[in-house]
């Protein structure tokens, strides 16, 4: 059994890791930290875990050094994560970091969009944990995984086959993304209250969301050139899920059909256990992946304009965060990649 500890477990990604690991055959959770809830029972804060963690209590972050675990799943906010991770690595632990701190390879870009970075030297060592796009090799051998952001996961999975095959004009890429409320985190806030969210819908941080440089980085790596997308996030009145509607102009509008483009996706993701390519004429619904590590992708060629419209859906808390972390854990430890991650949505 792999012994894991979850740092900063009071939020939704921590809860989601606990949910997934509760039924994982090869890994257990030995400790969870939370400044806010230290000393409280896990099941008192999260009654949905009753029957699975009845004996577990949140501990102080400072107690982490005494924890019997080899893998640390770090759910701290960016900025805080870069303080904790170096200590864990120095102690010989493996770390999967769910924050943004080690995702952006270019320090100046990170510091422009986020803040000053206090452990720059570790950025190069971190493996970006999106195996469907960048493969398993670097993940397998890394001590530090930078777990991808939720929006970048949905957008990159929807665009990678097209960018890799050089089918689209990269300067034309627009990502119109819609996320469930869990993406906003678990904090007391009138803006995410039921009263504000139910029967509401809005865009936010247009052109200035911090996931933009992460998307640009991944697409740029695939393109071998700088890419700059327009990215517009919206807040959906649902709990979970991101639907990304992606627009791009085809380079050669005459030589494609919806079917031929779907075939590009199907071949690209042929061996991927978590990716489903929809039949022609079918578009994915966000509720088909809720609670799962799956990504479902459909598309349509808009022949009147020569644009391709790709639509991907993921659960932002699973494939967009905690599920991807466990998938990366499975890769690191040589387990079957789907261990603990097979589920059927309600």
């Amino acid at each position: 059994m792999i012994k894991t500890a979850i740092i900063g477990a009071s939020g939704y990604t921590g809860l989601e890791l606990l949910r997934i690991l509760a039924l994982h055959d090869k890994a257990i959770v030995t400790a969870v930290t939370s400044r806010q809830y230290a000393g409280k029972q896990v099941t008192e804060i999260f009654p949905s875990l009753i029957g699975h963690y009845d004996e577990m209590t949140f501990i102080e972050p400072s107690e982490i050094r005494d924890v019997d675990a080899e893998l640390f799943l770090c759910c701290l906010p960016h900025g805080t994560s870069m303080e904790a991770v170096p200590i864990l690595l120095k102690a010989g632990k493996k770390v999967i970091d769910l924050s943004a701190d080690y995702r952006i390879k270019d320090v100046a870009t990170y510091e422009k969009w986020y803040q000053a970075h206090s452990s720059k030297d570790l950025i190069a060592e971190a493996a970006y944990g999106l195996p469907e796009v960048f493969g398993r090799e670097t993940i397998k051998n890394a001590d530090l995984i930078a777990n991808p952001g939720c929006y970048p996961t949905g957008a990159t999975l929807a665009l990678a086959p097209l960018v890799k095959a050089e089918l689209i004009k990269n300067s034309s890429i627009i990502i119109d993304a819609k996320s469930g409320v869990s993406g906003a985190g678990r904090t007391a806030n009138i803006a995410t209250s039921f009263m504000e969210i139910a029967e509401g819908f809005n865009a936010y941080k247009v052109g200035e969301h911090r996931h933009t440089p992460e998307i640009n980085q991944s697409l740029g790596l695939l393109a071998g050139a700088e890419v700059s997308v327009t990215f517009t996030p919206h807040l959906l009145p649902i709990k979970r899920g991101i639907l990304s509607t992606v627009y791009a102009d085809l380079k050669d509008t005459g030589s494609h059909t919806t079917a031929s483009l779907l075939e590009v996706f199907r071949q690209n993701y042929a061996d991927e256990p978590f990716i489903n390519i929809c039949e022609e004429g079918v578009l994915p619904n966000i509720n088909e992946v809720a609670g799962t590590n799956n990504c479902s992708i459909g598309l349509k060629l808009d022949s009147a304009t020569g644009r391709v419209v790709v639509i991907s859906v993921i659960d932002n808390l699973v494939k967009g965060a905690s599920g991807a972390a466990i998938q990366n854990m499975n890769i690191i430890y040589g387990l079957c990649e789907t261990t603990g991650l097979i589920s059927v949505p309600l």
Copy 2:
């Protein structure tokens, strides 16, 4: 008092007309037709109208000829509307048609996207009822109003100032629209059941929604040239409202700011009672216009890509249908345009 009759009043646009006219000072409803509910009390089918239409009963469509009314609000589906409207006009009545039958000026385009047209000669006479974009003159003098579609209303209001001022490349226009469930109509259907809609979200009819040619027509008129947009509708898990996120490449990227573009909108809609332009840094939420005839518009210049992102919100049943119809009625009868249409959202 203007005597009005509502034809095909069993759906949401009919119910919405009844709701608005219940509190209108200068108009009353004298009859409502419904094949499905003929003989039933209006308040039995729509308990929300108790206290306002307690004595009114749905009548058969065939009884319409005996109705004492001068203005007919036609809520029939397209195809059926074109059968009813010519008879009413011949009888000297005024008609506001909420279907698509008289919106598209080019018959071939109508017949390509919808069906064969049986009263083509009336198309030219019909005034397209979007006064904020095309003015009041033709509406004022028309016997037949083609009331705009819900998606076209939201998209055209978001784009008209930019197209008129020739600020954007019209070939680059992308409209990513999200509508509440009432847009799907009031019919028994598993696809619009609570079980399917709640916690769900999906795109549909990508590149093939029937509102596309209506949007192209309006923008083409403003541009003085053919326009072909990419239009992607989505289905939101809310009851009312359309949020349209509109993307376009600026012709001259260097000479604009978010503030200067907002000023273009502000001047363009300066005298419009139902249009609100947001302050810089503010984006509209769909819940701010629910139940009202208002349209709220915000925008952002994405300086990294030279694209402008405009966001408009309307209530699809009010400004997108029945409220616009009453606004057009007010114009026809020389009333203050806001009569019966001032409300504060819940």
Copy 3:
């Protein structure tokens, strides 16, 4: 025009008063106080009010003495209200207090369920503002109105005809009430976040909710004897509305039918503009009164057990708070009682 001021206007009852008064013919709002938002524009905090209060700014509570108003609508929390009200009355103002501070006539009972009372002498002067049950006389002549609680309004309207007619065993009364989230107030709280509320439902404060003594007081007054009910509130995943399911054993089970009991209600509330008694076989839905000052009541005799089951629905923010306050204002000023309170639910 009646000049009104709203004290403590940052919550849902304050917003609701602003919404209703925006369209009231005979009253205007001259000032709104809010410690939290003092200095901010009303429409910045509440965008739904754009177009109605564009020039209004929240002021500090301390500035209230300089406000030009004759009627003060007090939305402060209990405990705080009893500090502000005596000052206003001394200054010759009229006050409608939406808190619990002047509802409970028995000081010991108030102090047991709430806290120490600092202006006990005013309790006797306060008129309890539920005109459908206790008439208009005391309201008309009062300078201080204790506006009823939301749960007590729904429960008392459902029970008053039965208690007054002495048809039920008062010791058998059970009130199972379900409220929308707005009842919990407008505060940042994980417990009322969309994530916790959507797809959830729970009972709370069983047997210990503070509205219990208020219900007991009203029913006791009608019965001429002490009444002690079982009251169980629940939290519904909707924004507005309270549905109260009330159970009581009939004294004489043999002499009633559902129809005869409905007739008791119909006669009791014959002249009430805001109360609707459902037809036999029809039960009210909470969505039929959303946004209105109406109360709709249905009932069923459970002949197998000799129990009557009465179901009432109100909008907790309107008839359960701010609408009732305006109704009381209309009574005080001799206006038609429905002024500003006629609306049709969406």
Copy 4:
């Protein structure tokens, strides 16, 4: 592997059986029938099952005789089920019937509340599948299981310990139950559309719901005397779950506390893997059991009235239907009772 077939699999209980059995270690589904969808792929109708039943197609009910299965899970509506079950039993199959047809032991009672019964002789043979209340013995040895109704499961689990211990006056029992929309079945119906359900709430079939005699039967068996409850179902705007608020007068009001009553429940259900008794002061939320086979129970003594208020929550599709069916299957086949039924709610 146990080979199972699902009859009438086009509804929510059929879908739920497919969901649960997809991950069951010891059982597989070999066939699914559906008149409506015969010939269609399972994953076309239920995209949430993609990856699990990709090769499976719905077959005609008439093809059931050729199916290779030993256990038939029958999801037909009542009336239809009694036609199919005798044929299967005669063919030597085991049947778990999710309809009401074999739940009511007294034929006259069944025929009064439902319809004429065409296979009365089998009623006595059927084992009522609520093991937590009536034990495992009869289930283990039965060829036909009458799987309990959803409301009866929630209500009976909440009342059994009190009735068995003779602590309450059985004539005083009131069950105020609230169910998610899935309880209404998967049919196209305006009444269960998102537009009607969202932001709505109502009671229905007060005093006349068909689950009433089933509840009376179970409590009567435990009491050794006739019991007649008042049962009021309500429709919640959520997908899944039933919360039952149960009221009963204690026989001896002086000798109990909330803690002592909780202890009665705790001892009664001490060995039950799916039942959780809440701590004193804690009440269960419906979202804690969504997607699970669990029942969580909390209670409060209302000392002012001598009534106990018990609150139970279940997922109506799992413990209230398909999960209970799999639990019964596990018992029949001597498997660990929790096989395939351990899950953590989202």
